[in-house]
């Protein structure tokens, strides 16, 4: 059997506060196949965000290994990690984190600046991504002119614009009303099924978790 797409081995993470060492993640071992849709649940402070950030390569573990497509990303330097993220990970945040001075289209084009695409190609990629999330008519709107649900869909368009294999979403529906949340989840479901994106999602919302194919529970830094 070939090795899984994402392989987390013996992961520890602790924070130093003053002279105190606070363990956050303890001995996490986890395998995720390509095309999985996985939800992490668990009480507040159990380390869900921390685990997601480690797998997404925006944080470094205290010890342990994270193999993604066979490569140990914990061995990469900051610069190498940045390049790796730009090619492999799409980010969806609870508060959308769009750049307020850029239009929807420009926000989606932003990560494409890091690719070798021409200006024209970048624009057409961004337009396609906005089509996918159903916001083609809103592409020249600024974030403040959009509803929360629309903002989150723009954020999803930004996350998929570079066609990364992995999408990480930290409580993507946490700030949305029920209808908007449904739309966003529907969209993520489609990205998983139709485009075969591997999705890792942290959520408190059982209805959101239902969309995932697997649910893993974190309890005080350990996988239950």
């Amino acid at each position: 059997m070939e090795s899984p797409f994402i392989e987390v081995v013996g992961l520890f993470k602790s924070y130093q506060r003053d002279s105190l060492e606070i363990p956050v993640l303890r001995n996490i071992t986890l395998n995720i196949s390509q095309g999985d849709f996985l939800a992490f649940m668990g009480p507040s402070g159990s380390g869900k965000t921390t685990l997601l950030n480690l797998i997404a390569g925006i944080d470094k573990p205290t010890s342990g290994k994270i193999f993604i497509a066979g490569m140990d990303i914990t061995e990469l330097s900051e610069t190498e990690l940045a390049v790796w993220r730009s090619q492999n990970v799409g980010f969806i945040f609870q508060f959308y984190n769009l750049i307020p001075v850029l239009t929807a289209l420009e926000n989606v084009e932003l990560p494409l600046i890091l690719t070798p695409l021409s200006k024209k190609q970048r624009r057409s990629h961004a337009e396609t991504a906005l089509h996918v999330v159903g916001l083609a008519e809103r592409m020249h709107h600024f974030p403040r002119q959009l509803s929360g649900g629309q903002e989150q869909r723009v954020a999803i368009a930004r996350a998929i614009a570079t066609d990364p294999a992995i999408l990480v979403a930290d409580e993507p529906t946490g700030d949305l009303d029920k209808t908007s949340a449904e739309e966003v989840l529907e969209l993520m479901d489609r990205l998983n099924r139709e485009l075969n994106k591997t999705i890792l999602m942290v959520t408190h919302d059982p209805r959101a978790a239902e969309r995932a194919r697997f649910i893993r529970n974190l309890e005080k830094g350990e996988l239950a």
Binding site: R85, V101, L102, L110, L114, R122
Partner: protein, 386 residues
Amino acid sequence: MELFKLLIRNALRHKLRSLLTLVGIGVAVMAFALLRTVVTAWYAGVEASAANRLITRHAVSFVFPLPLAYRDRIAQVPGVDEVTYASWFSGVYIDKNQFFARLAVDSETFFDVYPEFVIEPKQFEVFKRERNACIIGIDIANRYNLKLGDMMLIEGDVFPGQWEFVVRGIYQPRDQTTDPASMMFHYRYLEERVRQEMPQRSGEIGWYIVRINDPDDSAAISREIDRMFANSRAETKTETERAFQQSFLSAASAVITAMNIMSFVIIGIILLVLGNTMIMSARERTHEFAVLKALGFSAGQLFFLIAGEALILSTLGSALGLLVTLPAVEGFQAALPKGWFPVFYIKPETIVFGCVSAFLVGLAASIIPLRRVLTTRIVEGLRHVG
């Protein structure tokens, strides 16, 4: 979409804050340029001095005269090319608030030694032939609306009496460092009346101007001249024209030093104004920078965003400042008594220095915010509530 677009949008994000920053930088740059220009004006004499001219004056003080008889002896010193002389006439023209130099000069040689006073040969010929003729700078002609053939009435003070001069020449300054507002007339006219009215002061001149062949010999020649008149009735002090001009400044040197320091303090103020704006902006955008870093933007790209914004503000601000400097300098000069600073202009160096400092200040102002952005870990930045 290019990163440059984000840079511009960022700069325009808080229009009022950016505007205030621009105005702050502009005002400071203007103050800087104005101060530098005043310092330049003060140093005008030093700037204008020629390396091949020495000044020989009375050893005790510039105000004591020297005998005219020294002239031929100075001319004998090896390395001396030409000797001319001048006397400070002073006097009151129209009223006591009209400042410009009035000199009695040896008309045969003075303008040879001072080629920076450019006179048409025809005018010069007429001037030389007429006893009470004078030559005035173009600024004097303009200021008092004087034309060739006009009379100038001067009430003497150093040399009491009513003095009448007729304008026979109007000189143009050779360049910006040349005093365009002096008046020169024949020493022999002065001497003629002095001999009749104050015979005890006859045969005296104010100072000698010695043109030498090689500026490298200036120290040796100066020593030689002064040695010649040591232990005589009027000992001399000879120095380069530059040193001579600088000695005039020593009285004002504390003020000039203060202005020099002030002008650099102003650059510091610009740095603080801009630095403050940049630090505030970067702090507000902590979250956004964390997002950009998560997306994979490099340190170089973040530097481009932050320093670019600072440079736009500093460049536009100093352009604004330099733009208003021109009218400000003119207004400043108009506010001063006429002729206070005969040479008053914005040196190109001042503008270049202003622009270069704006650029450096722009870079410097981005150091702290950039450092903060680069050292803030992504997860911390994302947690940050702004």
